[in-house]
Amino acid sequence: MATVVFSRGLQQYTAGTERLEVEPGTVRDVIAQVLARFPALENRLDSGTAVSIDGEIINEPLLERVGPTSELHFLPSISGG
């Protein structure tokens, strides 16, 4: 099972839950599972969200694969200069 880790900020919408186990799949699949479990996150994960999968930050993540032992974090999308 892959793991989604919620930052303090997102924990406002997960009733304080920090870690959630999910079925592996694409990031889109994972988000669907997350929203099914925590509907309050609807509209909190918007197009400005990037993810990190096993430590790698990915900006356009929806079709990326999350493996059976992966750890995924939601991050604000950061730009450089």
Partner: protein, 754 residues
């Protein structure tokens, strides 16, 4: 992955291919281009920090002989508020449109509200003076504190703070709030033996590129448009202009000129949509160039900010918890880099419990634009200053304290994910063992250290490698070269093709001659465009081997590529002479046609870059003047492709940070007008302000990149603000928490401490 690889070209220092044009004045920058029949465009800008536009009458301007077109906000299409991505960053296109040309309100001194095109610059300037505008002046706010105060004048009546539950019913100037972190800071502070807390403030500063924004645009009768401009991203300009003007991207060709500095400030559009519209209206090409005053007044500086940091540690220096609040101003429209500030503050350290609150606040100043590691220098100023205080408090060496808590592979970052292979410990080691660190200091001198971090970027790049008939190769990429990246791309192609770098010609294409590229910035070009070049060159090598196999009539696996030649390893009993790239290129037509490789990718495997600096200052106790007398920058580059340009990034970033710490700030009068929109009074470092800047390149290879590359361009600006402030603390005994450390401020601090 590549630690043991011996490089032939990577790591050497050839003269850059575009260098000759630049030392002879032949290189064409944004304002160096002209077209026949060209008109000159100028922009009318608000003299008020905040005002309603009651009416604009442009008829007197149009009546002036020589004026061919006039624009006001109503000439731009109305677009809904939508967040799009166009190049690297999230952009609200409605905000962008309103920044390019104001609609019912002007929101800062310098805000554009009309534009004219005329047959000469002088007539254009006169036309501006004839435009009659009636303003209803409103009260204004210039700092986050003013903007958040109860009863503060509101910039946007439709701004309701996002990220607060429940959503407020009253509009405010706080665009959003985001919380980051993990664990429980209360627990963290309970575990601490020592807790320190401080508040810091920084002022609005500008990227300070020497070349003002410039564009020549031509809208053709068939709807096809051409834009020549200095920009960090030709595809970004294309996308943004298309969005703002309601065009298809296929209708706009953007040619990026050589660019005279960007640092993030040229990752958006200001003049380009205006020039295109004026061209369409007048039927002639239009050239627009900002003067220096306009650059300061109306192109994005970065945020001014308030930073509150609280840090707890055990007696032995182990960090136990942190609580941070960041308030950054975004200028007149939402979107400051406060979140990056939150993600990078204390990022170099292991901290089990941390809470970071980020507030994005609008004020009546120009909309902020990216500035080299956007957000990070500001928060690092707070974090690294406080760590220095902690070192003093604990009686620990400041590098030792950082070593004790340094992140390494597998550590959970403050912003969530675990780090992969990184080089922070190695960087600190190199800093500590540098002779600068143990050099003696003189009277009134002090030494400060600070560390810094930037994620770096990947994103989309395309490149082509075309082999000429003489065996030389052209490398075409799409990222404007702001720091010498062409030379690095040529080195990478040379390494893959195994031919001398002098036989590689690197060029930057436009939006019609090269595949899509995200913009130059985010420390991504050497990494991501480099990856595309490597892949394209590898594709060429595969083709060259195939051609040789065909000529020799052997299997492909019987051909090896070495030193720029195909070598036959299985010649069915014969040993043919090797075929050089020149031999194969000459026979290309007979063996299958032109030899060209191409690659388009979204670069993965980004590796962050850590840096750490040492700064020695001397403080004149009579005038408060702070002089930097010695400076050393250490940084992990993964693999330095062209070391001279890595060093250049480190030195340039350090210099900008020193200016930010000591002298630079936007100064406003009581009407909210910018008082120092020029290089005389917006004082960036000059040659006599700085010593030589020593650099040490650490190479902890990024395992995800074929050569181990990590981006390097942005990290160098992150440590200097605190490095300078820490040095001043040690020189004077006074902790300064407010930048810049200008002479009057330093003098006041010294005298108060007596």
């Amino acid at each position: 992955m590549s630690e043991e690889r011996k490089f032939r070209w990577i790591g050497t220092r050839p003269i850059r291919h575009d260098g000759l044009d630049k030392v002879t004045g032949r290189a064409n920058f944004g304002a160096d281009f002209s077209l026949p029949g060209m008109l000159h465009g100028r922009v009318l800008r608000s003299p008020h920090a905040h005002a309603r536009i009651v009416s604009i009458d442009t008829r007197p301007a149009l009546a002036l002989e020589g004026v061919k077109a006039v624009l006001v906000g109503a000439d731009l299409p109305d677009i809904p508020s939508q967040i799009g991505s166009g190049g690297e960053q999230q952009v609200d296109f409605r905000d962008l449109s309103h920044n390019v040309l104001a609609r019912d309100k002007v929101l800062y001194d310098g805000h554009a509200l009309a534009a004219v095109a005329a047959t000469s610059p002088r007539i254009a300037a006169e036309a501006l003076e004839r435009i009659v505008v009636e303003y209803q002046v409103l009260p204004h706010v210039l700092t986050v504190d003013e903007a958040m105060a109860p009863g503060a004048p509101i910039l946007h009546e439709d701004m309701f703070t996002k990220g607060i539950e429940p959503t407020p019913s009253e509009p405010s100037n706080v665009a959003g709030r985001v919380e980051l972190g993990h664990g429980d800071p209360e627990q963290g502070f309970a575990d601490a033996d020592v807790i320190l807390e401080r508040e810091f403030t920084t002022q609005t500063v500008h990227q300070g590129y020497i070349e003002p924004h410039a564009v020549v645009a031509r809208a053709g009768e068939d709807g096809q448009c051409m834009v020549w401009c200095c920009t960090q991203g030709a595809f970004m300009v294309r996308a943004y202009c298309a969005k703002l003007l309601g065009l298809d991207v296929s209708q706009i060709k953007v040619i990026p000129s050589e660019i005279g500095g960007g640092f993030g400030g040229k990752t958006t559009v200001y003049l380009e949509p205006l020039a295109l519209l004026l061209s369409r209206k007048s039927g002639r090409p239009v050239k627009m160039v900002m003067d220096r005053g306009e650059v300061f007044r109306a192109s994005g500086p970065t945020s001014g900010a308030r930073v509150r940091v609280k840090l707890g540690a055990k007696r032995d220096g182990t960090f136990t918890g942190a609580d941070v609040s960041l308030y950054y101003d975004a200028g007149a429209f939402k979107g400051s880099p406060v979140m990056a500030g939150g993600m990078t503050i204390l990022a170099p350290y292991k901290i089990p419990h941390v809470k970071i609150e980020c507030f994005d606040v609008v004020v009546n100043k120009p909309k902020v634009a990216a500035y080299r590691a956007p957000g990070a220098p500001i928060s690092a100023f707070g974090g690294e200053s406080l760590i220095d205080e902690l070192a003093d408090e604990l009686g620990m060496d400041p590098i030792e304290l950082r070593m004790k808590n340094a992140v390494s592979e597998g550590t959970k970052a403050v912003y969530g994910p675990k780090f992969r292979r990184i080089g922070f410990e190695e960087t600190l080691e190199a800093l500590r063992s540098h002779p600068h660190y143990s050099a003696p200091l003189g009277p009134n001198q002090g030494r400060g250290v600070a560390a810094g971090f930037w994620f770096n970027g990947g994103m989309q790049s395309s490149a082509s490698v075309n082999v000429n008939e003489d065996g030389t190769a052209v490398v075409i990429s799409g990222c404007p070269d702001i720091g010498g990246s062409r030379a690095s791309l040529a080195l990478m192609a040379a390494e893959e093709l195994q031919i001398p770098v002098e036989r590689i010609r690197p060029v930057v294409g436009d939006t019609e001659t090269v595949g899509y590229n995200d913009l130059t910035g985010g420390s991504r070009v050497t990494f991501a465009t480099g990856m595309a070049v490597i892949q394209a060159a590898q594709d060429v090598v595969a083709q060259l081997r195939k051609r040789a196999a065909k000529i020799w009539e052997v299997e492909l696996d019987g051909v090896r590529w070495e030193d720029g030649r195909a070598i036959c390893t299985n010649g069915n009993g014969e040993t043919p002479e090797p075929l050089t790239i020149r031999d194969l290129a000459r026979r290309a037509a007979r063996t299958g046609g032109p030899i060209a490789g191409t690659a388009s990718l979204t670069a993965r495997g980004i590796g962050p870059s850590f840096g750490a600096h040492i700064c020695d200052v001397e403080v004149d106790r009579e005038t408060g003047r702070v002089s930097v007398v010695r400076y050393t920058a250490v940084q992990d580059a993964g693999k330095a492709i062209h070391p001279s340009y890595v060093e250049g990034q480190m030195q340039g970033g350090a210099a900008q940070g020193i200016g930010w710490a000591l002298n630079e700030a936007y100064l406003y009068d009581e009407n909210g007008r910018l008082e120092n929109p020029g290089f005389l009074d917006y004082r960036i470092p000059v040659a006599s302000d700085l010593p030589m800047i020593d650099t040490v390149i650490v190479e902890v290879a990024n395992p995800m990149h074929p050569y181990g590359v990590r981006g390097v361009g942005e990290t160098p600006i992150v440590p200097p603000l605190a490095a300078v402030a820490n040095a001043v603390r040690h020189a004077t005994g006074v902790r300064f928490c407010d930048l810049p450390l200008s002479p009057p401020r330093v003098l006041e601090g010294i005298e108060a401490a007596r």
